[in-house]
């Protein structure tokens, strides 16, 4: 493969030109999301396209490209057709013939497959509100390139920033630029990435390590997965720059084992980058050497914490260690180590290509650039959303997300996963960045954004997160191990209607103690979901305690399903009851056996006559 090696920046740009030239005959491209959409049968759609295009002898001029996440997961499986930039959703193999003959051959748009807004079809992806309000720069290539083809990335300018940096710029200059650009870590606390690099660079020692934290463990976050699956080269490019800046020759990518596609794509990307000499010895003729290996996490949320992650890489139980010493001076194998998360690395090439001033022109005073949010929960357009820092929740939930389904009321948005908090409706217009979220009692975290409506019980949500952190606590320090268990017990009691009003003060006091006394980020942030819901939704807690009711109908011990006299005897509830506890003749008022009822709520949701109360 020696002849493939890129020896200079000129070689790289020449290669990009050659790749474009070789695609001259391509008239149209059918981009099919093969990551998230795979779960809904995208593979069958892609195969059908290939078969039918080949049968119509169009396979030379029309390319079927298996891409990463296109973003609007709610419409999966998604198909994007270039050059028309038409986005089709919910595509099945049976639709393929029609798409080929109308859209690909004649450029006609099939309204029935496009996104509808206010009942009107919106064909072009750039006109769809979901995309119009976004600024997709980190996700720019996601859904546009085949992540398993390095040529696709190179054609789009991939590795140019990195090669320029390692051949033309001094490491200290890169670090200064990064600090000036104001790039903050996208994984959690938002520590300035440039400073972190500076510490690792200044740490004495010849042997240094670079780690990419791709152990995306927050429930409800899937942006790192999308980046690794959809544009792994951007992450590798960012790592290459970081390695050069801090002086590391060896890198590790710690990927969650639950993300097999991400692991596969990253492994392919590394092999291809090596073939081009973009990883390995003497990269692009710069004299700098750096190589990368993939390690699979074994499933422990605490390993998102950097010292625990290092422990895990060293083959130990993933338990955090006190800092200092920080990994920058004493990390993997006791050597200076720099750890950033996936999205942070993916921002690095952008910082270099836009320049520190260009990059920092986006965002708010102290939070620069964009942030990717995984928008999910009670929202119409679930998917991946990239917006400038400082966007408001209203923009994300309503303008991009399309609002709440079934005309329900917005109750709150949960940001930052188990370390974050719930933000109520009154802050819908508050610009969100690292600092404003902290003020509101949430955190940016990795960017999971779960929308909650009137059917979500905030006490149950607090209990849910505590249950999670409590079971994921590694058990090393007492405040986290014992404290979270104690908090969870109190929350469980409140959910059962057995809480006392004094519990609320006790939860706050204990939460503050755990926050201050825990060893690592997991424990320090574990009380956040409880403290933030107590701050904004205290009345719901009080209802559970005083009136023994759950207005959202979630806490089962407080629910009693009863069929009222207005029942018309349609039998719909009887049909859906999974445990057959509803009885009654047709057109007669039905009865429900309370003793055997499992309170699953199926009957309540099914009844069209509001004849069931809870």
């Amino acid at each position: 493969m020696a002849e493939k090696k890129i020896k200079s920046l000129g070689d790289l740009t020449a290669l990009a030109g050659k790749i474009s030239e070789s695609k001259k005959n391509i008239k149209a491209r059918v981009l099919i999301c093969m990551t998230g959409c795979r779960a809904l049968g995208a593979e069958l759609v892609a195969n059908e396209f290939r078969e039918k295009l080949s049968a119509a002898s169009l396979d030379d001029s029309v390319e079927v490209v298996e891409v990463g996440c296109i973003g609007m997961c709610a419409m999966a499986p998604l198909v994007l057709i270039e050059p028309y930039d038409v986005l089709y959703g919910k595509i099945r193999p049976k639709h393929v013939d029609e798409i080929i003959s109308a859209t690909i051959e004649k450029g006609e748009i099939l309204d029935k497959f496009v996104v509808k807004e206010d009942g009107k079809p919106v064909a072009k992806i750039s006109d769809v509100s979901f995309y119009k309000q976004q600024q997709r720069q980190v996700l720019g290539n996601c859904g546009r390139i085949d992540p398993r083809q390095i040529d696709d990335a190179i054609e789009k300018g991939g590795y140019v920033s990195a090669v320029k940096a390692i051949t033309e710029t001094a490491p200290d200059q890169i670090i200064e630029d990064l600090i000036k650009a104001g790039l903050r870590g996208r994984g959690g606390a938002g520590f300035p990435a440039g400073l972190k690099w500076k510490f690792a660079r200044q740490a004495p020692g010849d042997e240094k390590y670079l780690i990419c934290n791709a152990d995306e463990g927050d429930p409800g976050a899937f942006m790192d997965r999308a980046l690794l699956e959809g544009d792994p080269h951007k992450v590798i490019e960012g790592m290459l720059v970081a390695a050069y800046a801090i002086g590391a020759s060896h890198g590790l990518m710690y990927v969650r084992a639950e993300y097999p596609i991400a692991v596969e794509h990253v492994k392919i990307a590394i092999v291809q980058a090596r073939e081009y000499g973009l990883l390995g010895g003497d990269i692009a003729g710069s004299g700098f050497s750096f190589d990368l290996e993939v390690r699979m996490g074994a499933g422990a949320f605490v390993c998102g914490e950097e010292t625990a992650l290092i422990g895990s890489l060293e083959g130990k139980r993933g338990m955090p260690t006190p800092r200092p010493p920080f990994p920058a001076t004493c990390g993997y194998k006791g050597k200076p180590t720099n750890i950033n998360n996936v999205e942070t690395f993916a921002n690095v090439p952008l910082v270099l290509s836009m320049g520190p001033d260009g990059y920092s022109s986006i965002g708010t005073e102290k939070s620069k650039g964009t942030k990717i949010f995984a928008l999910a929960g009670k929202v119409k357009n679930t998917g991946l959303v990239e917006v400038p820092m400082g966007a408001t929740l209203r923009q994300i939930v309503y303008e991009i997300g399309g609002g709440i389904p079934d005309k329900k009321e917005f109750k709150g948005a949960q940001l930052g996963g188990p370390s974050g908090g719930c933000i109520p409706a009154e802050y819908l217009d508050y610009p969100i960045d690292y600092d404003s979220l902290q003020e509101l009692g949430a955190i940016m975290g990795s960017g999971g954004l779960i929308v909650m409506d009137e059917d979500t019980c905030m006490v149950d949500i607090a209990r849910y997160f505590l249950d999670f952190t409590q079971s994921e606590s590694c058990g090393k320090c007492t405040p986290c191990r014992v404290g979270t268990a104690k908090m969870l017990k109190m929350l469980e009691a409140i959910c059962r209607g057995e809480g006392k009003e004094s519990d609320l003060d006790e939860l706050e006091r204990l939460g503050e103690d755990i926050r201050k006394a825990s060893l690592c980020g997991l424990g320090q942030t574990a009380p956040n979901p409880v403290l933030s819901t107590l701050r904004y939704f205290r009345d719901e807690y009080l209802e559970h305690i005083r009136e023994k009711t759950c207005r959202s109908g979630v806490c089962k011990d407080l629910l009693h399903y009863v069929i009222l006299d207005v029942c018309v005897g349609c039998g719909a509830c009887k049909k859906v009851c999974p445990v057959d506890v509803i009885a009654g003749e047709k057109k007669q008022v039905h009865t429900l056996d309370q003793d055997k009822c499992i309170k699953c709520g199926q009957c309540y949701q099914t009844c069209k006559f509001k004849a069931i109360s809870r």
């Binding site: 463990g217 409800g220 899937f222 999974p578």
Partner: protein, 160 residues
């Protein structure tokens, strides 16, 4: 620790292959090593782990310390099919607890358990990262999304 006495005679060839593919094994390789052993043997068999310990000089206590810390490793054999019910936040607010109960009702086992006939192992996972399908479960490599309590039985009884 529960010892499984029903084991057949140990086939060491997969272990031989794994160990010979990794030169100079040290503590740092323990997790990748256990991942490979589990993928070849289906679970971390006690006799294999002991043999591995003997050959790599990594103490058995250390191996079990690691194996019991991480969610991925299991010390008991799994059923023919693995049902993974996502309990991520999006799934939770869309009814994952009811789905979990429904799976238990249909299979007769709680999360973390395997049916007596070794047909199903039922697990819950922190998040499958497919929040747009919430509530979602995975059976082996297939996803089933937008579930309701009543769809669960039909899906599970389809498996042999």
């Amino acid at each position: 620790m529960k010892v499984n006495n029903k084991q057949v005679v140990l086939d060491m060839r997969p272990l031989d292959e794994i160990l010979s593919s990794m030169p100079e094994i040290s503590q740092g390789d323990l997790i990748p090593l256990l991942q490979q052993i589990q993928s070849r043997y289906g679970y971390l068999r006690r006799d294999v782990v002991c043999e591995m310990s003997r050959r790599t000089k990594i103490a058995v206590s250390r191996i079990y310390g690691v194996a019991t810390f991480y969610e991925q490793f299991h010390l008991e054999p799994h059923g023919r099919h693995t049902i993974k019910c996502c309990r991520g936040t999006a799934c939770h607010v869309k009814g994952a607890p009811e789905i979990t109960e429904a799976i238990t009702r249909v299979t007769g086992v709680s999360p973390g358990e395997t049916t007596d006939d070794m047909k199903f192992t039922f697990e819950t996972v922190a998040c499958l990262g497919t929040c747009f399908l919430a509530p979602v479960i995975m059976i082996d490599d297939d996803y089933f999304g937008h579930l309701t309590v009543n769809k669960v039985e039909g899906i599970i009884t389809n498996y042999e």
